[in-house]
């Protein structure tokens, strides 16, 4: 019984990580209707950037994220402005194919630069620190921080979306692109800013990816699938729905692994398919797509 309870608690905390993966994807889809097949690879790329900063400057990964965030914002801004904005339109294929191409380029570029070795972000004592919840159950500080960060990111994004002028531009372009342009919104700039913000979220996701487990250049696509599943389970259009979707996915995986370790990933996918059959618009839908 303790084992199952432990699996449930770990699953909720793992859900925080998946929510971080998914929030960036949800943001891109929400603002520019872009489904980014390179999302997982971008998370892995950001983890390698953080790793490089920690190694070069000898700083803690948490400090490295603060240093890397502006760089990643700029990369995201540039990527959207120079490349991805050209692909958006009525036709679905260009954004899918271009991000799929990016995914292959990033994976193999990382393979060339960092080799196929597994890496990990090191942060001293905090990595192994844990808090006892009484009984035999203890939770790690890093997983707790992951969930707390996911909540903080969502609060911050909701603030940007509903309390700032750029957020108003995000909502306007999302609701009606043509009218937004008529009202004087520079769509290219708005989209580029949204991608820059998404890249900062990606950096935060990458920090916890690297602190919690090993990573190597090939693990991106699986993270994309988890992010996507969390978004769909939660329902489009709400960041809190995405958090719920991440937690449900995390729970499905840890409870599945509790039954049979080989079933961890498969049970996550199956939970996603079950939600898709029973509630095709997700559990907490807001947007009408």
């Amino acid at each position: 019984m303790t084992g199952l309870l432990d699996a449930i608690i770990q699953g909720i905390l793992l859900g925080g990580l998946y929510a971080l993966f998914a929030t960036g994807l949800s943001l891109m889809f929400g603002v520019m209707r872009l489904v980014n097949l390179a999302h997982g690879d971008l998370i892995v790329l950001a983890a390698f950037v953080i790793l490089a900063v920690t190694e070069k400057l000898g700083v803690d990964p948490f400090a490295a994220v603060v240093l890397a965030a502006p760089i990643l914002f700029a990369i995201g801004f540039g990527l959207q402005h120079l490349l991805l904005n050209r692909t958006l339109g009525r036709d679905l294929l260009p954004p899918l194919l271009v991000t799929f191409g990016l995914s292959i380029i990033i994976q193999n570029g990382l393979l060339q630069m960092f080799s196929a070795d597994s890496r990990r972000l090191r942060s001293g004592a905090i990595e192994t620190a844990s808090v006892s919840l009484g009984g035999d159950i203890a939770v790690g500080v890093v997983p707790l921080l992951t969930l707390a960060s996911a909540i903080a990111v969502i609060v911050a994004l909701n603030f940007i979306f509903y309390r700032t002028s750029i957020g108003r531009a995000f909502r306007a372009t999302s609701d009606d692109l043509d009218v937004a342009q008529l009202m004087g919104i520079d769509v290219n700039r708005t989209f580029a800013t949204a991608m820059g913000i998404a890249f900062v979220v990606i950096a935060i996701a990458a920090l916890y990816l690297g602190l919690r487990a090993n990573f190597d250049p090939t693990i991106g696509p699986a993270r994309l699938l988890y992010a996507f599943e969390a978004v769909i389970i939660g329902g489009l259009g709400s960041f809190w729905g995405t958090l719920a979707g991440g937690i449900i996915l995390g729970l499905a995986q840890t409870v599945g692994a509790h039954i049979d370790p080989e079933w961890q990933i498969l049970s996550g996918h199956l939970a996603f398919l079950v939600v898709l059959v029973l509630r095709p618009r997700g559990l907490f839908p807001r947007a009408v797509d």
């Binding site: 489904v35 036709d91 294929l93 954004p95 799929f100 191409g101 292959i104 570029g109 699938l225 498969l266």
Partner: protein, 363 residues
């Protein structure tokens, strides 16, 4: 004055062939004849290379039908390649069936799996459909990794008795005076050739048919096609199931030739979907000719650049992005646009002749 006599009468006919299609068909027949007779004089390396080219082309034609015409952009066709391969292994290793019979059965099983799969993934639209199909392919991969009888996560190999039991091997050995491994390759070569010609013929005849007209309309604009009475959902479902069946048969053939299967290789998104998408897009999506050109370009790149490993893949990804941005209709689109060519005429053109009343110039 009688208006009928004053007005020129318009006669018209519907034509598909143009000035190059008939010579192209003749050249196509000669190329096919040469390809059929190739094993009598070509070396084993060329035969093996061509097997690879054929099955990539057949996969690209299937994906093109799916994405280029039916608008179903799938990133999960590896599900059916792997499924077909595993069905062949199960039927021959466990069931003792002849591999030649196992290939069509693999197609039927793939279609049977595609139907319930479609019921789930068709709930997702557009780009979400793409990732949904990928998730399904992962479920297939993880599912087959649990089947201990077929080697679980590490996979298994075909026994020599299975690979040599293909009918015709003895005949090829005596006819062409070759050893068993070479005879196996030649048998696979002819099978692959038959499959690629069959796929091409199926796609071509489908696009020439009434359903093909509907598919072309869906490709050009889905909403307009629906308003003209095209039953979008059932056509898409039919195309999804049919391409799954063909992809499954190609997968069975690929793994009969490879004689070794594992979940990671059989359900590889890079090998069976990414390459196929690049072939179709670089050649020209939404045409039959495009994937043929794309497959030849891909084969040449694979042959001369694959040794560069990661750099080769970076180049392939960059090329795909550049084509999508600057020549979205692909290499064939550039050629066909400039010289007004069609090798597989599927487009119906209206030919009109203004003639005087009673006189028709129609021949």
């Amino acid at each position: 004055m009688d208006p009928d006599t004053a007005k020129p009468k318009r006669t018209f006919r519907i034509a598909t062939a143009d000035r190059v299609s008939r010579p192209a068909a003749a050249v196509g027949c000669i190329v096919l004849l040469v390809l059929v007779l190739l094993p009598t004089f070509a070396g084993r390396n060329l035969i093996q290379d061509l097997i690879f080219l054929f099955y990539m082309l057949a996969l690209a034609q299937c994906w093109n039908l799916l994405a280029g015409y039916a608008g179903l952009i799938s990133v999960g066709q590896q599900a059916f390649v792997g499924l077909g391969g595993y069905v062949l292994f199960a039927l021959t290793l466990v069931g003792g069936l002849n591999p030649l019979l196992a290939i069509p059965v693999a197609g039927i099983v793939s279609a049977a799996f595609a139907l319930p799969t479609a019921l789930i993934v068709f709930r997702l639209r557009g780009a979400y459909f793409a990732i949904g199909t990928w998730v399904v392919a992962e479920v297939y991969r993880l599912g087959f990794a649990q089947v201990k009888a077929l080697g679980g996560g590490t996979g298994t190999s075909l026994t020599p008795s299975v690979t040599s039991s293909m009918p015709g091997i003895e005949w090829i050995k005596t006819l062409l005076d070759v050893r068993t491994p070479a005879a196996r390759d030649i048998a696979s070569y002819w099978l692959a050739l038959a499959l690629v010609v069959g796929t091409l013929a199926f796609v071509y005849l489908l696009l020439r048919s009434r359903q093909g007209l509907a598919l072309g309309a869906i490709r050009d604009r889905e909403a307009a096609a629906a308003s003209l009475g095209v039953d979008i959902t059932s056509i898409k479902l039919a195309v999804y199931v049919a391409t799954a069946a063909m992809t499954g048969m190609i997968g069975a053939l690929i793994y009969l030739q490879k004689a070794r299967i594992s979940p990671d290789a059989a359900f590889s998104v890079l090998d069976w979907t990414a390459y196929v998408i690049f072939i179709t897009v670089i050649g020209g999506i939404g045409t039959i000719e495009g994937p043929i050109i794309g497959a030849v370009v891909f084969y040449l790149m694979q042959r001369y650049l694959a040794d560069f490993g990661a750099w080769y893949l970076i180049l392939l990804g960059t090329l795909g992005i550049l084509v999508m941005l600057f020549a979205p209709r692909g290499l064939w689109g550039l050629l066909a646009g400039r010289y007004d060519l069609t090798l597989f005429p599927t487009r119906r053109r209206l030919e009109t002749n203004r003639t005087k009343n009673g006189l028709s110039s129609e021949s």
